[in-house]
């Protein structure tokens, strides 16, 4: 005998017991519901597992969100640390190392020109030497402060600093001997110039290591962890979409607002992580391939120009070698020379104008030299015009380099904290979304 066929029992509150006929006429709730459709199978008892499934889903989602948040945090933090380090340390070091070469060459040329003026020292050249010397010392100290705990780089720099001290000491000795008409002035100057050659080598070592460091930092801006984080983020989005579809099927409520918002935020977080990292990398690359390349070219132009001037002055001091031959070198102004490279790298109208001025002022210097003018001051003035114009190009590219690195760092500055905040918010929204549906079962 089925439940529907059992003998009617007296109703505890006195209602008339249902007769078998009455009971037979009243279909069970389950049966009635099944006639309406699957979407309304919300009966307690028969679908008691649905809330449990929901709870399990919410837990799964929270786990995925948490994993995304944690991995994303570590990955984004790594990108930010590397990018910030490039902006604050590795980047400035490569620029300083490049410009140090030009500064040292400037000091050398000014010291030589001042020496050349004899007992009535060219005060303007002397001042230029002192300014360049002080700047070189400041740049060395600046590089040292940026090197962190790179012992090998510090050792290279220490070698350079030692040579610089030796060089400046010899220049002062040559100067004093020259001013006082004491023997040995010329040999002291030539010894200083020999040290300058060593300085050039040391500076190139420092520069090469700095470029190496910059490159290796750039390589650490993004890595496998970023991909894992993005993968987890995409998984989160997919699972959220699947879950929402399932819930819609179960409850006939198409939209679960908290879960919709959570999905949008998750997609946004993934996009932010991806674009932030990409932007940081591309900006850094741009800084290196454009602005820094121009900085390198400009520094080489300056260095070469100063070398020529120094050679010309040395020839005059020693009486050996031609006092115009160094101008025949086409390193600067040949068809594939440094000037051509500089012009090629100029990417704004103003920079092109500055480069044009550098070339024009070098031509004026050459003219002054080859005219055989005895007016050393006029020759120096022309050379200064070239040198300072080159500094204008350098300064312009330095600013662009720093701007590119600033933008790179800005692209990822807030990503780590932002990801954590978004993940927390997504988790809360997930729980809220499921709570809404779970409430239907109470």
């Amino acid at each position: 005998m089925t439940a529907t066929q059992s003998a009617p029992q007296p109703d505890p509150v006195g209602r008339a017991a249902a007769t078998p006929a009455q009971t037979a006429a009243t279909p069970s709730v389950t049966t009635e519901m099944s006639s309406i459709g699957r979407s309304r199978r919300l009966t307690v008892g028969d679908d008691a597992s649905t809330p449990e499934v929901m709870r399990a889903m919410s837990v799964l989602l929270v786990v995925i969100v948490t994993a995304f948040g944690l991995v994303g945090l570590v990955a984004a933090n790594g990108t930010r640390t590397a990018t910030t380090d490039i902006r604050d340390n590795a980047g400035p070091v490569v620029v300083q190392a490049q410009t140090l070469g030009a500064t040292l060459a400037e000091a050398d040329a000014a010291a030589t020109a001042a020496f050349l003026s004899g007992a009535s020292e060219d005060v303007v050249q002397r001042r230029s030497y002192l300014d360049a010397r002080d700047r070189a010392v400041t740049q060395v100290e600046g590089i040292s402060a940026l090197l962190g705990d790179d012992q090998a780089a510090h050792a290279d720099l220490q070698e350079l600093a030692t040579q610089l001290t030796d060089y400046t000491g010899r220049i002062e000795a040559a100067r004093l001997a020259g001013l006082n008409g004491v023997d040995g002035a010329q040999s002291e100057l030539l010894a200083a110039l020999a040290v300058q050659d060593d300085l050039t080598v040391d500076r190139q070592v420092v520069s090469a290591r700095a470029v190496e460091t910059l490159t290796s930092r750039s390589d650490t801006q993004t890595g496998a962890l970023n991909l894992v984080a993005i993968g987890l983020g995409l998984l989160l989005v997919v699972v959220l979409l699947v879950v929402q579809r399932w819930l819609a099927g179960r409850t006939r409520r198409l939209l679960n607002i908290p879960l919709v918002v959570a999905t949008v935020l998750a997609a946004g977080a993934v996009l932010w992580l991806w674009t932030g990292g990409s932007s940081a990398v591309s900006r850094t690359e741009e800084a290196q391939t454009q602005a820094f390349a121009s900085i390198q070219n400009t520094a080489q132009v300056q260095e070469f120009g100063f070398r020529v001037r120094s050679l010309l002055a040395t020839a005059q001091i020693t009486g050996e070698g031609s006092d115009t031959a160094p101008l025949g070198d086409t390193t600067l102004d040949g068809p594939d020379g440094l000037f051509a490279r500089l012009a090629e790298g100029a990417d704004t109208d103003d920079e092109r104008a500055l480069v044009g001025e550098v070339v024009a002022r070098w031509a004026e210097f050459e003219t002054a030299v080859t005219a055989g003018t005895a007016d050393l001051a006029a020759v120096s003035e022309r050379f200064n015009g070239f040198s300072f114009a080159a500094e204008g190009v350098l300064a312009q590219n330095q600013e662009q380099f720093e701007l590119d690195l600033d933008l790179a760092a800005a692209a990822v500055e807030r990503v780590p904290v932002g990801l954590v905040a978004l993940s927390a918010l997504i988790a809360v929204l997930v729980l809220a979304g499921f709570q809404l549906r779970l409430a239907d079962y109470r």
Partner: protein, 382 residues
């Protein structure tokens, strides 16, 4: 013809340009100051008074020649009366971050331009529009605050040396020591700190371009001793009764620390007035054209700078104001125009030997310079 007027006005509390700039940078300005305007619709220039040749009869002045050559409507405002005054007045909105100055070109003295540059309150000159930038004297391209001259182009250069009346001082005055040995009622000291202190530093054998703050204060101690003797402090400006020019011309003083251009002009009618560069050297200063941040017409500003850096135009300006032209080629133009007197004047076109003795004051930091400014203002009663 009146030389540029740099009158002495009341000393205002100077908050310090750096402090103001920092405050401006920290606050979000209520007005966004754009920096990419290459407008050429019009041009507003702010300069010192009597610092440009004016139209006389059928002979157009520089501004009118510029209008004719470029068609750019130009407003030339000669109301820059002093650097500190401009900080309180024409530059106030820029410094407070509330808006641009309304000018496209202004002409501060070099030290103020340096501070504006450091505070990032200057727009770069669109050099692509200034091919005559190649005529900038290299002496002004290597400044530590603007290597390459991307943000400034000098307007005129002056020398602060010693002027004296040959008829009352036949023995001449060749040093600051000799100047300070005179009766305190019969000489004056220049009201510009950098120039007065710089001259004393040179007298002491110190390179005024690389002085320390302590050295500068030491020089100021000597000036303070003179102030205690009631020596006057003043500026230039023929026609201004308080200026060194007028006081020399009127015989009220026999000697003064003085500006070269003012004295050259004074000599036309007062040939007994001599200008000397002291044995130990003199101070070179310059006023320079810059584009204040947010200028609406950077393109027009660049055209103006390019125009006045044409040696022909520069020669015209020099023959009027009689200060040193920073434009290469101006001297040759004057000579070719038969103005050898000007072209060969070592005060207008210093030769190498003279240049060796000219120095621009430098060395102290901006903050230290502000302290020096404050102390000098107290000493001089400014």
């Amino acid at each position: 013809m009146t030389p540029p007027n740099r009158p002495l006005l009341g000393r205002r509390n100077f908050l310090g340009l750096s402090a103001m700039a920092l405050a401006a940078a920290a606050c979000r300005p209520s007005v966004t100051i754009p920096t990419n305007n290459l407008g050429r619709g019009s041009l507003r220039i702010l300069n010192w008074s009597d610092y440009i040749d004016e139209t006389e009869g059928n002979s157009p002045g520089t501004v009118d020649r510029f209008n004719e050559a470029t068609g750019v409507p130009t407003t030339y405002d000669p109301s820059w009366v002093g650097n500190f005054e401009a900080i309180d007045d024409q530059l106030a909105s820029l410094l407070s971050g509330t808006g641009p100055t309304g000018y496209d070109v202004i002409t501060p003295t070099y030290w103020l331009a340096a501070q504006l540059r450091e505070a990032e309150l200057l727009d770069p000159i669109p050099l692509a529009l200034v091919p005559n930038h190649v005529n900038v004297d290299p002496a002004y391209l290597g400044l530590p605050w603007d290597r390459g001259g991307r943000f400034h182009m000098p307007w005129q250069v002056g020398i602060t040396g010693i002027a004296y009346n040959r008829s009352t001082l036949p023995q001449g005055i060749n040093s600051v020591t000799e100047l300070f040995a005179l009766d305190p009622r019969r000489f004056s000291i220049i009201g510009e700190m950098r120039e007065a202190v710089g001259l004393v530093l040179l007298e002491q054998g110190i390179d005024a371009s690389r002085a320390t703050a302590d050295e500068a204060h030491g020089a100021m101690d000597l000036i303070e001793e003179q102030a205690a003797r009631d020596v006057k402090f003043n500026f230039g400006g023929i026609g201004d009764p308080t200026s060194f020019s007028t006081q020399l011309a009127d015989g009220k003083i026999d000697a003064a620390m003085a500006w070269s251009g003012d004295i050259v002009q004074l000599q036309a009618e007062n040939p007994e007035i001599e200008f000397v560069i002291p044995n130990e050297g003199a101070i070179r200063w310059f006023d320079t054209m810059v584009i204040p941040k947010g200028a609406s017409n950077r393109g027009a500003a660049a055209e103006w700078m390019n125009f006045v850096y044409d040696p022909e135009q520069a020669a015209q300006i020099t023959s009027y104001v009689q200060y040193i032209s920073p434009v290469l080629g101006a001297q040759e133009v004057l000579r070719s125009q038969g103005q050898a007197e000007l072209a060969d004047n070592p005060i207008l076109f210093p030769d190498n030997e003279t240049s060796q003795r000219l120095v621009s004051f430098g060395g102290p930091t901006v903050a230290q310079e502000q302290q020096l400014d404050d102390r000098y203002a107290e000493i001089a009663g400014l």
